[in-house]
């Protein structure tokens, strides 16, 4: 229980738990939709989902400052491509949080002159750009890792004791297979990178669906959100699995 208390003392920990709950409700609703006699359960799941979603806004208030601080930190990254990607991604996150705050002001009734759909669209678009740029950064890091794996393998093959091993790029027909093998091997070597890539890939399904670029169903969005929330929870419980910038 002590670990649970320490975990929930962090706002981010609680927020991830609630997000996981929200998307689990979405997934359950999709699974129960076609079954008979589950109308009452579906209504309850919908109301739980909407109250958790509304409540989570309180965790996001003031996160503009977090995003500005993250932008300042990403400007100081040494490598050019991650620096560019992270800075632009965090700038988009700042705009997303500003739009989110405007939507919150509208939802509590403090102002009536806000066009909800327009601001919702803006927020989703900037969230989408943020995830896209994060994925570009992840891809760059994966390519670096793959290069590292190839270099290590070349070093091992050059050494006299080492066995000749097999050549990664042996034949044209094997190329795709070898590339995928190298890809997964690089990810396995670097768990934080794997976790971050999985999180961003699952997260991007949500704005893709909302913007109409890739319309999926409630089940896909729910599952994607649940997996990314669990990945986020793991990085909070085990901070060493958080992808660090150098």
């Amino acid at each position: 229980m002590d670990a649970f208390v320490r975990f929930t003392n962090q706002s981010q920990g609680r927020d991830r738990l609630f997000r996981a709950t929200q998307h689990a409700c979405m997934l359950l609703r999709y699974l129960l939709e076609s079954k008979a006699g589950t109308e009452a359960a579906i209504v309850k799941l919908k109301s739980l989902e909407s109250s958790v979603s509304t409540g989570r806004k309180w965790f996001r208030l003031g996160n503009v400052v977090h995003a500005i601080q993250a932008t300042e930190q990403s400007i100081q990254v040494t490598d050019l491509v991650p620096r560019l990607c992270l800075t632009l991604a965090n700038l988009n996150r700042v705009v997303y949080y500003i739009c989110d705050t405007v939507l919150w002001v509208k939802s509590v009734g403090l102002t009536s002159g806000v066009n909800r759909e327009k601001w919702q669209l803006r927020a989703t678009r900037h969230y989408y750009y943020f995830l896209l740029l994060s994925l570009v950064r992840d891809l760059y890091e994966i390519l670096l890792q793959m290069e590292q794996v190839l270099q290590d393998r070349a070093k091992r093959e050059k050494s006299p004791q080492g066995s000749p091993g097999y050549n990664v790029v042996s034949e044209d027909t094997d190329y795709l297979q070898s590339f995928l093998l190298l890809f997964f091997r690089s990810l396995r070597r670097h768990p934080p990178l794997l976790l971050d890539t999985v999180k961003n890939l699952c997260d991007i399904l949500i704005p893709l669906n909302q913007l109409g670029i890739y319309k999926s169903n409630l089940g896909v969005v729910g599952l994607g959100g649940l997996v990314s929330s669990v990945a986020g929870l793991i990085t909070i419980v085990y901070p060493q699995l958080k992808l660090k910038t150098h």
Binding site: V5, T8, Q12, V65, I68, V108, G109
Partner: protein, 257 residues
């Protein structure tokens, strides 16, 4: 900026901020009503207060575990009175949070058949017991510190050779009722001065006393034991929320058992 990031990373800090905003809205709503503001503005403030109250209930989900952990730790305190007061206070707080979770389930539609009024009364009752235990603990600590001060003062007087003391000296002979009254008044004044001195020398204790005293008005009003009105409730709630935010920003101001 870094300070805000660190502060808002604690979920308790966010909840306290929402609490301060909620009671500020309550106070503002009462003030607007008194001065005849537009019903539209009053409705907006009431709506915001409702949103804040519901949001806080979600932010407090899981606080029962925190209170139970604190109660578990308090069982190992050395002083018997402190052990009793602090443990019982935390247990009551855990029950208050459990009732609060039931209220949230009712309001969010998960358990629509929940009797809101009954569970609200229950939760305020546990909250009141917890506050009474806190104030008892504060009173005990104050008494201990006052005894320490008087014995330290007595030792200082003995060392410097001054005859008699605060307690024994005084005009009039024993047995004359007319002369007892000024003596009592003097004794009372000295006690009050000693209390002020003790509280001034221990800011965490002073903060805790003020916070619990302000908080006490809320359940007393909601349970109908002492109806003080929404203005007083709003003001006291706001003051106690600001004081608890202070203890979060400056952890040395928190009263340690």
């Amino acid at each position: 900026m870094d300070a805000w990031v660190r502060f808002s990373a604690q979920s308790q800090a966010r909840e306290r901020l929402c609490r301060a905003a909620q009671y500020a809205c309550s106070l503002l709503g009462h003030a607007l009503q008194r001065h005849g503001a537009s019903p539209e503005l009053q409705k907006q403030i009431r709506q915001l207060e409702g949103h804040l109250s519901l949001g806080r209930k979600l932010l407090r989900l899981g606080n029962s575990a925190d209170a139970l952990e604190s109660a578990k730790r308090a069982v190992h305190l050395s002083d018997v009175v402190l052990r009793f007061c602090v443990t019982v206070s935390h247990l009551n707080r855990a029950l208050y949070f459990a009732c609060d979770n039931v209220l949230w389930a009712g309001k969010s539609g998960l358990a629509p058949r929940v009797d809101q009024e009954k569970w609200a009364q229950r939760s305020f009752r546990y909250y009141l017991f917890s506050l009474i235990m806190n104030l008892s603990r504060d009173a005990y600590e104050i008494r201990l510190l006052m005894e320490q001060e008087t014995s330290a003062y007595g030792r200082r007087m003995k060392v410097s050779g001054v005859p008699g003391g605060v307690e024994t000296g005084g005009p009039g002979e024993p047995g004359t009722p007319g002369a007892c009254l000024p003596q009592l008044a003097l004794k009372f004044r000295l006690r009050v001065l000693l209390l002020a001195r003790v509280l001034r020398g221990h800011p965490p204790l002073l903060l805790d006393v003020l916070r619990n005293a302000c908080d006490l008005f809320i359940p007393l009003d909601k349970l109908g034991l002492w109806r003080c009105g929404p203005g007083i409730v709003g003001l006291c709630g706001l003051i106690s929320s600001i004081l608890s935010i202070l203890t979060l920003i400056c952890p040395w101001l928190r009263l340690k058992p």
